[in-house]
Amino acid sequence: MKKSVFFGAMTLAGLAAGAAAAATLDDVKSRGKLNCGVSTGLAGFSAPDANGEWTGFDVAVCRAVAAAVLGDASAVEFIPTTGKTRFTALASGEIDMLARNTTWTFSRDVDLKFDFVGVNYYDGQGFMVPKELGVSSAKELDGATVCIQTGTTTELNLADFFRTNNISYEPVPIETNAEAQQQYLAGSCDVYTTDASGLAATRATFDAPDAHAVLPEIISKEPLGPLVRHGDNGWGDVVRWTMQALVAAEELGVTSANLAEMSGGTNNPEINRLLGSEGTLGEMLGLEADFGAKAIAAGGNYGELFAKNIGEDTPIGLARGLNALWTEGGLQYAPPFR
């Protein structure tokens, strides 16, 4: 097998795409495929199923962008990335966009030279306790042992929270979510703390999920969203407004069920502009007029995607919370399509 591999790679060299530079949109169009970086596996957000099909909430963003740009929600090459390889993959041009539950922070946006185009999930650090502990608020956790992943921002947030509330705790350092799960179930720690979506996903895999509760306190801000390389604003706009189209669709009541009907034209001009039967919004982005309709057709509006992948009827079982529309007390708010 030795020399063949060597040679195979020599002939394949050049096939492996790595288009970078400015005009990502043109590259994607000429390639006919969107290279989208996703997580190697995070329940509800991105994971391949038994048939090898990628599904999940982050994956849906990739599919919506592919549908908007190329008109085909399946024209996506999913590039799995780990927490360590994700940023270099984007910076080196191996992927066109990254949709991998990445927290929008100052240094990532400014220092690493990326552009976060929005927030598709507002997360925050929470606490999970066994119900038999009888705790209903994180402020009652004085003296508790806490399972905490080392070397993460959650560790720092935890220390801050306990110090500001003037209570003490004993950390039990663990390495991975899997280890935490075992330690917590074995009773090595009273509390497990990580991002609330992670807590919910972990709790869903327990033998008896109802015996555990996620406490109401959220002690940090973790806005997760897709990002693109800095410097290609045209491409950044495409991803940003594709995502906003999904949110706007939910605001305006456009769903995958009534999409075909509404695409013909309605008496609401904003819907018409969003779906392309009126105005020239698609043209301004360098896309077809009905890019918004195609993006919504890929999997439904924001609310439908949420419900299908991580919502309360799924095993993950996340409530909308902060991710409800602004009209319903959440933070999801699409700028006007005009």
Binding site: M1, K2, K3, S4, V5, F6, F7, G8, A9, M10, T11, L12, A13, G14, L15, A16, A17, G18, A19, A20, A21, S39, T40, G41, L42, A43, G44, S46, A47, P48, D49, A50, N51, G52, I79, P80, T81, T82, K84, T85, T88, A89, S92, G93, E94, A178, Q181, Q182, A201, T202, A204, T205, F206, D207, T314, P315, I316
Partner: protein, 432 residues
Amino acid sequence: MTDQTTNSIAFVADGNIPQSPPPARETGAVKWIRANLFSSWGNSLLTIAAGLVIYMVLSGAVPWMWNGVWTTSSLSECREVLAGEVGACFSVLSERWNQLLFGFQYPSDQYWRPTLAFLLLFVAGAPVLFFDLPRKLLAFTAIYPFLAFYLIWGGTLMAPIVAFLGVAAAAFVFQTYGKGSFALGFFGAIIAAFAVWFVGGALIPEGASEEAMLQAVPSRDLGGFMLNLMLGVTCVSLSVPLGIALALGRQSNMPLIKWICIIFIEFVRGVPLITLLFVASVMLSYFFPPDSTVDLFLRVVIMITMFSAAYIAEVIRGGLAALPKGQYEAADSLGLDYPQAMRLIILPQALKISIPGIVNVAVGLFKDTTLVSVISMFDLVGMIRGPILASTEWAGVYWELLGAAALLFFVVCYGISQYSQWLERRLATDHH
């Protein structure tokens, strides 16, 4: 005298006492148990303690495996079927078995290709591993790498053919000129190979891979245990010759070669493999221009090969150092030149001494291939940690999946170790 026998002596034996069976405590299982398990107080205590431990492990493990569920489609269904009883959820293995073996991206109607390549591996490996077999079988071994490449990656048949022609040209040049001057043959062979690859590569029409007989599968779509085996086999078979060259180079009298080898070995041995893998996956994509990157699989193969070659070089250097100086002098006094002396006298002995060490490195390397999961390649462990444990159906199934992975690795590693013991017996020339 008769008087004596009849009267004055009370008893005289006049026949053999019939043989009676040995006492019950000195025979069979009882004796074995007494001798081996309860020969002293200390031993008895240890036996009882060990028995308790074995009982505790088995009493937990046997019902767990016996009650195992094989046919459900998610972990929660497993729990429903078990209804609170202890039992494994092996359904994850039956549902995701193909993903564990081939990764989740390899086209499922093409699974026969890697399977066939795997079976042919035994045919190709047999004449190398068991040298009592007819030497003619080696012809297939020479073709096998190209055949396996074609089977696994697919695409145009021209690529492996051109690759094979290049190697054949190199071998021909080496045969022709290598006898006169080793260096001339060696470098001539390299030039010949590259010339053929260059010309042949230019002749392959653009887009030939698209309408190929076997559908082309990019490296990114490889995965599962197949990826571990491919990396293991490729890297071991590449790193043994490279390791021999490095070991000889380190002993060379030519300072340039010697120092290159020393620096290479010491540098690579001083760096953790995971660092090299990160360099392969992350850094190299910065170094190459965006439109021409080297295939990720190849990058990983190069890094793992370098790593294990450095270790194998040191193992072989130990073998070389163990040979008495007289062997080297004997080779010189026969008038053999350096390549001949090495090929005919020194290396056969040195390699024989090095077998356990080389096998040790090979087994370690094979297990190290699971490290590629950290650079987002979906090998067996990567498949388990990533897609399978992240799926909503199977999150939380650890013992079954990792146990199955351990079993697969154990089978291969134990096989390698048994082979090396056979090889040592087969090559033993001293008499006991």
